[in-house]
Symmetry: D3
Subunit: 235 residues, 6 copies
């Protein structure tokens, strides 16, 4: 089984980190590769960034599809291009936001999300509603660390502080990390927070591996996730 | 007051139709121009089409912003690029799906939407949920006419039939047209259906005109609709 | 085009204020008149007040209908008599609560409402639910200024303070004014609050003008907003 | 214990029927009287009817309050004037719609409502949402018998037919009768339908009797149901 | 009329207290008996306790059914075994959580619940959602008094303090006591809190008495509450 | 890694089937054992069955916990004893209903569930609401095959027919099998239905394996899933 993890931004060091985390999560017998689009934003921190990043995600999945990957992960917490990627892939495609938050529902009655910048709180709340998790999500908070700042080891302290404040404010039981760039912080956060800490990259990779093993892929019965009309692809 | 209507697809004849409908709706003292992106899909009929179209929408709004337009309409029922366009515009930006459906709520307890192809039913239902209108929307249906097929006068009959079936199946009171390409059919449909028929292009244009007149624009207080970080715009 | 704005209370000075605000919002080519019922409460600050005021609203709309007005605004944030007025009018009827709150949804992800007295918080929350805006409304608050006290210029300071507290408590992005009597305070509040401030009187008037321009009126297909049985009118 | 049942319409024969049903439901040791307003509609079959009827309901409760009644029932399925009546009464006030539908929730997972005319379906759906019962209500249907036509014994057959169709269409388990005028049909309907049949008059009367026995009355802690300001009552 | 109140725990002194409260609530002409299962937990303070207690509840209802009781109350705020008890009883079965919370909806716009231990907050929130009361319930709180500690008269002070904190935090208007063991504290709490205080034991008993008087029992039309297959009962 | 699958009923042939399906789903490096309680119902087809089965489930998990299993599956679509099992296990516990339905959300916009008997439709709808999946679940249907009848190879035809009817009625895209006893029918159903078919046993086993690999277990921070008080366990 081969899984392709697509990092929607072009920062190669982050792609390497994501690849490492995804490989650990995939389990034995699963090959995992991570890629970035050749073109796109260095980080996804606005609606414009999402719009700019999404075509590259779809293209990366299309290339991966031709290369024979069995399933795909979109490794950005906005799940950019998720539905479109499902149209071009035959195997399952899972976003780290949907997988991170759904995985959290097995671990406690209510979870909190900590995202990067304040401007991402609204879009993240929107995802919570989109996935039908409004009753399970106790709150969305920002740590005010930009995406690329998360690579700095010193950011762990600030992130841990933001998570502890979020848990206290929300009275929640599970922490969902709201950015792929937080994946490397999981071990320390788990120790510091005293609650399960869900990294979406790991959750999505494990979910795709499970779906492939169970031979489950997106439904095309009402066309929505069927291949788009030929015109659409080219034009 | 000057309003720019952005047709997310590149079909110029459709842009002309949209411009005409929008001008009628804008009322006295409002100048309306319609544009298409130079690059993008000829029609938006899949998730991939939306991803491909959105960057052109954002770019068109950015150009319009520099040209001094006071407000913007996104004239495709998927509202592609709406949130991103709000980041780059200082005046209000309104999508035809949100405006069409919210306008319908003043006209009866429950509305139905008729979209183009079956594969767009799911995405349209998603918009209904996103805008918080699940209790007001009685159903979403497809007429199975592709976007560009709506330019054929013979399509009116098929569309009217689909609308009548939708109203009967849903027991609803208002019809919302789920594609900008349906704007030209409003007069005939109004006569045939016996219920109010809402065209999103007209609704959105009238809404933007009202917001500009009231000096209302998107809030930037929590940054979400503030201009994106400089990096985002360029990268 | 002629629009009639009905102030459900009998305080003439407030009717004059409302008329002025509505005229500004209506735009060119729209004639706006405001009236009060001859009989009713001096202000609407309780459920009893609403019950007492509603028959006068319906009567005013009926008189306006005969006089040939094209559309109607009900200028009290409880939207008293709204559904009944729709039965007796052929043109559109819009309440300032529904229009104020729906207009706010174009301007940010979540809005707050500031109403007059604490006892009106519950009824206002009820309206939020009725219009399906529970996900968009971050909170409802009272400024503890009675309706007629809002005519005192000194009330601006207290009102601004209540609005600032509400925005901070809710983390919201848009302010909706929960009383027609607050219309005159919009310019100062806009400057003080740093967020879009929506006055329902302006929003409803602009909405009615748009509906009339688009030839849209309430649906009568399932009878709900059709003229009531003759007995009902007279008895 | 003395309970006053207010029939919001002025049809005395219907008031007598309601009184009889309410007395049966009240149980031993409870005195029940029913009254009609002196002025108002002969039946409540439109929004205008509700607006016209509500002041008489409030006045009847105020008179009953002075006469020392311990609790009140509003015997019209639109619950007209309910909140206002709570302001003027010190004892509990219960509407037959809220009591009928809440009582049904003890008897099965989902109930259907059959109302009188088609134009009342929308308002009844609105009540379902207002009382938070959207998940429990499987459907609202009309039997197309006007309120006063329910006094005709021949109407039982039509009503039973409409109820059976509603149960079949909705796959529901409990029938809630959507008009006080249906109270006399309960025994026959129970036999014919094969499901529990809830009459709101009986349900509300039993509920008020229970609340009085438990010394429970509306909360006034946030003023909403406290006596309205003196001005409001008189003006 | 004879009602059987089943205390799901085996603490006889608590059964006696519950019986006394239920008798007061039942009203004239209603005989009330309370029983405990012979086997089960001494108190219900965890999910395991609920699982262990439920078979005894069902058995007690089955014995009561044979003994001719007309209706049943399950006197533990988790409503353990409620649906199963409905299968074995022919008369109505009501849980104190559903009755306590639904009764509260007649008394104010929003209620708070105070339960025993912190670990019961999550399960109580789940019940709120199950009964469709999420919009009416402003919050669930723990007083950190174990069930059997509520028999200590000194616990009243702690409980009152927790209730006052809950009302202040939630801005709510009605208090629902989240444990049958709190029934004896109602008079003092009512005096101290200044809001209606709803004891589920009283509310459920009054509700069952009303249902029996109205000849209403669970629907069996879709089998759900019909007697289970013979195998199920024995095996 | 060792996973214990608990079949809540005592039918050994069904336990063997479940074990086989679970082993296939678990993937390499995971040991899977399935057990039945020594005592309990032969099948779970009523609320009484669930109550009778749940203590055996909890006991089986407790025994498995002592034997060192890393995670647990509850293999009955009612998820009986799920929350209680989480209290006694330190590793993750997943029910087949929650896992089956959440897995379906990755595969299409809306799924249908086909359960065994008509009386299980209501409880299954309740689970849909409990897990927050009401917007994703298009319908719940019964095939009217009792649990143990599913072992008959001839049942495949009937089951396939019921699934096809459900998909057509709901317009849905994914089929979730509503009984562990349906696990063996997946290959044929997948071929016949033309949509993804989700077996909860496979989905839950894969989910537990993923959670164990990611070192995620239930949160105990608010005590809810912490070990119950010593009294509870023994009494």
């Amino acid at each position: 089984m081969r899984i392709l993890v697509v990092n929607p931004n072009t920062t190669e060091s982050m792609t390497a980190l994501i690849e490492e985390c995804a490989r650990t999560a995939a389990g034995p017998g699963v090959l995992v590769d991570a890629v970035s689009p050749s073109d796109g934003p260095a980080a996804v921190e606005s609606h414009v960034d999402e719009v700019v990043a999404a075509p590259g995600v779809v293209e990366a999945v299309r290339v991966g599809e031709r290369a024979g990957y069995d399933g795909f992960v979109i490794a950005c917490f906005g799940d950019p291009g998720l539905d479109a990627a499902r149209e071009v892939a035959t195997g399952p495609v899972v976003g780290i936001a949907e997988a991170g938050m759904r995985t959290a529902t097995y671990l406690g009655r209510r979870f909190s999300v900590v995202t990067t910048l304040r401007r991402m709180v609204g879009p993240t709340r929107e995802l919570v509603r989109r996935y039908g998790l409004a009753d399970q999500c106790a709150g969305v908070h920002a740590c005010e660390i930009p995406v690329l700042g998360l690579a700095d080891p010193a950011s762990t302290e600030v992130l841990a502080g933001a998570c502890l404040e979020a848990l206290a404010a929300d009275g929640s039981e599970v922490m969902v990390l709201g950015c792929a760039g937080m994946a490397g912080h999981v071990p320390v956060l788990t120790e510091r927070l005293g609650v399960p800490v869900v990294d979406g990259v790991a959750a999505a990779t494990a979910t795709v591996a499970a779906l492939v093993r169970l031979s489950l892929r997106e439904s095309t019965v009402v066309d929505e996730y069927a291949a788009p009309p030929a015109r659409s692809v080219g034009a």
